[in-house]
Every structure is written in structure tokens, then in C-alpha cells.
Symmetry: C2
Subunit: 376 residues, 2 copies
Amino acid sequence: MIVGVIGGGQLARMMIPAAVELGIELHVLAEAEGMSAGLAAVAVGDYRDRDAVLAFADTVDVVTFDHEHVPQEILRELVSRGVAVHPGPDALQYAQDKLLMREKLASLGLPVPDWARASSADELADFLDDHGGRAVVKTARGGYDGKGVRVVRAAHEADDWFTALAEDGNGGDLLVEELVDFSRELAQLVARRPSGEVVAWPLVETVQKEGVCAEVIAPAPHSAGRIADLAADIAFAVAEGVGVTGVLAVELFQTTDGRLLVNELAMRPHNSGHWSIDGSTTSQFEQHLRAVLDLPLGATGCHDDWSVMVNILGGPTSGSLEDRYPAALAAHPLVKVHNYGKSPRPGRKIGHVTAGGTELDDVSYEARAAAALLVE
Amino acid sequence: MIVGVIGGGQLARMMIPAAVELGIELHVLAEAEGMSAGLAAVAVGDYRDRDAVLAFADTVDVVTFDHEHVPQEILRELVSRGVAVHPGPDALQYAQDKLLMREKLASLGLPVPDWARASSADELADFLDDHGGRAVVKTARGGYDGKGVRVVRAAHEADDWFTALAEDGNGGDLLVEELVDFSRELAQLVARRPSGEVVAWPLVETVQKEGVCAEVIAPAPHSAGRIADLAADIAFAVAEGVGVTGVLAVELFQTTDGRLLVNELAMRPHNSGHWSIDGSTTSQFEQHLRAVLDLPLGATGCHDDWSVMVNILGGPTSGSLEDRYPAALAAHPLVKVHNYGKSPRPGRKIGHVTAGGTELDDVSYEARAAAALLVE
């Protein structure tokens, strides 16, 4: 059983432990030497290079991904050549293009923010007029971690993007959305295998800082009952509706009036599920491997009443993460440290920590304090 | 931080996930291509080949082991060249030579079975006379998994071993021990770092079949209080007394009259600690890496009231372990499967499964049933 992963970032890296335990060979097509998942790299190549991807795919039993950026043409050629690709291009297109995603979710009858396709500043102005003079504008493609997302209060504030799209050979429109009045952000992680089985982990709360996930609390506080059921129903409907295989993360807004709206989709293991490595019977990385191999899925219960994951962003102001281990590990023997083997750089995700326990206040403190010792 | 592991078996393999998560580079000196820990192999060489071991040691920050068989001369040369070796030769000698081990434990005042050094059938006959006509004879060196261990009722039954020892250039004696009247076997796992910190996991019960570990129950049933305290005291005394670094497993007999006697020592991650991968906050493999790097040790609490580990011995009668995944994983979504990537062979340890939960009967059933589906 050889699983091929396109992309050598930390998501591919975190598949390695699960693959080793299950006796699955993991082959990574890395963007460069020395990537986070370098241990499992068998080839270096660009995911936009048709020949490199096809040659890599010939050596594996199933192709999956560290990211969602492999072009549709290449994905479809793989499928036409009989390669098992999970998630497949029909599903991945909704993670690659936010306008397609909004249209699909709307057609599935799922709750989303008010949105529109805007091809000009005039159309954006109309949307602003209808939504209290403010909106979120998103590029349909290429955004992540807050990039390609902008809050605007005047139509001219997206002029540079309209110009760029006009100059781009592919053209295209912007997605404009209402600025949702939300009380918090949640994420519902599920996994689906080709033969149809779908499982959900508990709903989690995600805390963003400057558009980047900073902290995840599992399960989301005060979410038992209606909210948890609703989130799972939405995520199952998305998974079935788009036919995703592997792990799917559905990022949600909980509105101040208690509704859930779908914000974004990710069709791969996701930062909101990193807690599951230490906190769940089956980690999202093990589950992703099981799912893409169409193996029965594992249990998704929790080891602890509460798990809190805190990202390590940027890294220490001097030296390496490992230099901080003596202090951080001594002070926090209960905390699990995950180091992606990436060099520190402002804002870069270079690791995370997870704590678990029975009292949320204590667990949050443990995770935050350990993360602070690793970067301060 | 590069940890070098001499030997490429499943113990080295199971260090890989912990190393990946902590961002530690793991370099394995493997006995051959395609070993269980092949993913981390950077060199192939014989652990008895001085030049191969020295060249390997030059590329790493600390040397540790998948097994205890590296010759003392090579270990001592490494130390004399300034290489950090954990556990070091002064400790490892007690895992390499059972006569030295018995002498050391006796000098530390630790409880052991009655024993003697036997250099001839006459001396063995004397011991048999004093112990009801039966004894266990062990070769001092080279035994594992029941090999090099024999129950005898007459002195001539060890003649072949005496002859072999006489012919061996190194000569040597046999260890003879009373046949202990035990109610069960236990194991106490601890870890010690060079700067002195020692931690213990809960005492476990081990179930042997034909001299090979078949099943481990963590914690050992009916062991709270006196027995658990005694076992931890013994293991701490051994760890300090022999100056071990890394993980130490102390195998114990619980006698029918309620005493604990030290049976064997292992100075490396041990089969009795495999449950900790899924069942403890810190697995023995992560702890071993932390210990040999002299990093602060992690917490050793349990995720579940009970964990049961069942070895997969021999493997399926036809096909591979992975062929059995669909049936085994579907029936046991709570069970964690560990596959060492070794080809099936009668009696060979090729993997293990672990289950956890609140009712020991249920947990044992889950683990045993999953293991059965994987080999039947």
C-alpha cells in the first residue's frame, strides 16, 4: 500500500507517523529539498508540472495532497489514466475556487453568508449598498491563511484585484460576501471514504489572529446538542454533496443570532484538526490515510474532556525551537510538542502544541504557556 | 538534534513517529536494506563492525540502540572518542550479561531469585540438589524471547551448553536460577536521563506464551498500592544503581507468596511498553528520545482506565497483514493497529494492536479479537 502525497509541507509530514504505525508506505512529491515532509520525499518536482506529477503517480497506489493547488487539468488527466485520486478533481474544484464553492453550497441548500459574484467595482458597489456599506471581498483562487481576503467599505478598495484579474489570462470575478456578525468561529472535521462511510470528530472552536488560526478548543465550549448536531449535519451534507474523499474541514461562523454559516472548505487534514493527533482515538492524519485507501474509518472519540491546540507562529526571536525545549518541556510535561522542522520566519506556522485534561482553564493555560516558552 | 540508532528493527521503527513529531532527526544504522526502520536508515552495516559503527557515530549527536548487542569494546571506544552513548557501556553490560546482572542486583540488595554461577554439570547438580531438583539454566549472553533459557531437572540437560561455552574462545559460565513459583509476570518501565531525572509508567502485567510476550495489561490488575510502589522502588533502584539512560524495563515475577523478584532487564524501549504509544501521554519511544538527548521527561499518565496490547506473532496464514485490514478495522474501530513492515514468519513479532477503555473485559476482548482477525 503506497500512498503518494503531492506537496511536502507539514500536513504531509504529519501523515508520516500514522503511515509508519499502520505499515503504509508514504511517498511524497516535494516542492524542494529539505521540505517539512522531507523524510518521506521520493521526488522533487512542481505540482504544476504535468510530467513530474504523472511520473510520480505511476509509482503509488493512490494520490492525495498536502494542499489543494494541483491544477484541474493535471488531476483530470490522472483520473483518465486510471490513477486513484483522493479527493478527486470533481470535489477539489470547490476547494480551489470559492465562487464555485458558494454556488455549490447554495445549490445544496446549505447556510452561507449572503454573497455575490462581482466582475466590476459597480457590482461591488451594488453589494455594498445592499449590505450596510461593508463587505468581505475574496479572490476566488489562491487565498489561504487570510491572504486573498479583504474587508472593504468602498467599491474602489478592490480595484487592484479587478485590474489583476483583468490582466490575468484566465480572467475571472471576485467573490463578495456580507461581513457576518459572528460570535465565534467553529470547524467541523469529517472524513469520508470512497465507498461512502463518513465519520465526524467533535465540533471545535477556532480562534483566529490576523486571519491565521491561533488556537483550537476541542470540543467547542457550549456546543453540545443543537449546534453540534447542526454542524455535523452541514459537514455530512457537504461531504456527500461534493463527493469528497479523505478529510474535509468545514469552517463555520456561529452568528450572534445562533445560526451556523459555512465560511470555507478544506479538503485535506486541517489546522483545526491537529489536536486529534494527541486528543482523539484516530488522528486526522491516520484517518486521511485510511480514507484515501478506502479502508474502514477509525473511532473519533476524545481522550480528554478538553484538548487545546496552540499554533507556534513565527518561532523564537533567536535560535531554534529546539533551543527552547529544556525550558518548555520541563515546565509542561503534559504538553505534546509538534515541530514541523521548518526554519522560523515571522507569521510562519512552524509547529503546534496540544494539551489535554478535565478543566478547560487549566488545559488552555498549559498549551498557551508551553507555546509561549517555545517562542519567547 | 540527530539521534543515531544502531539497529533497524521495530523498536527503531517506532522511534520514527516520535522523532517526526518532536522535530528530531533520526538516523538508523540498519543491519540490511529493507529493515523495519528502513525509512530512517542512513547506512547499512554490522553492529559488530567497529569501523561501520564509528563512522556512523560521527554523523549523529547521540548514539542509542534498537538492541543491546553492540560489543563492549566498540561501545567503550565510542565513549573514549567523546561520543554520547545512551545507555552507556557501564549500564549496558548488565543487559548483555545475565551473570553480571545478577551480581549487580545482588550487590544493590534487590530481590532476585536464588541463583548461582555454574561452570560445570557438577555445580549445576549441586544447585539442583538444593532447589528441589529443578532449575532454570540461562546462557549469560545472547538470549532473548525465551531463547537461551531452559528448565532442567537433571544436570546433564545443559551439557550441550557447557560444551559450547568450553569451545567458545571467550569461555564463560551458565547462570542457574531457582524455578520461581510465580503467580504472574509484571514489568516496570522507567526512563532516566543523564542528568538524573527518572519517571515511571504504571506497572503492567505481561502474559507470555512459549517464552514470548503475547499480551500486556496496563496497569497490572490488582496492583494499586504496595505492589505498584514496590515495583517502582525496585526499578528506580536498578536505574540509579546501574546508571542507565533512556528507557529501562524491569521484568518481575510476582511470587505466589506476594514478593516481587527481578527476572530480566532491558535497556531500551520494550515490548511491555508498546501500549504507551496509544495509552500514555508520553510513549516509551518519545521518552527514550527525550532521555537520550537529556531533555526533560514527559508525563506518564494513562489515557484510559485500561490498555491492553496484544502482539501479532507470525502473521496471517496466507497473504499480508494489510490484506486483513478491511475486516479488522471495520470490526474494531477503537483498536490501534501497529504494523512493523516485516514479512510474516512463524513466531515472528510483526506488529501489535492496542485497545483502551473503562472495562478490562471489553478492552481485552477488543484487542484479542482485532489481533485474531489480523492473523486468521
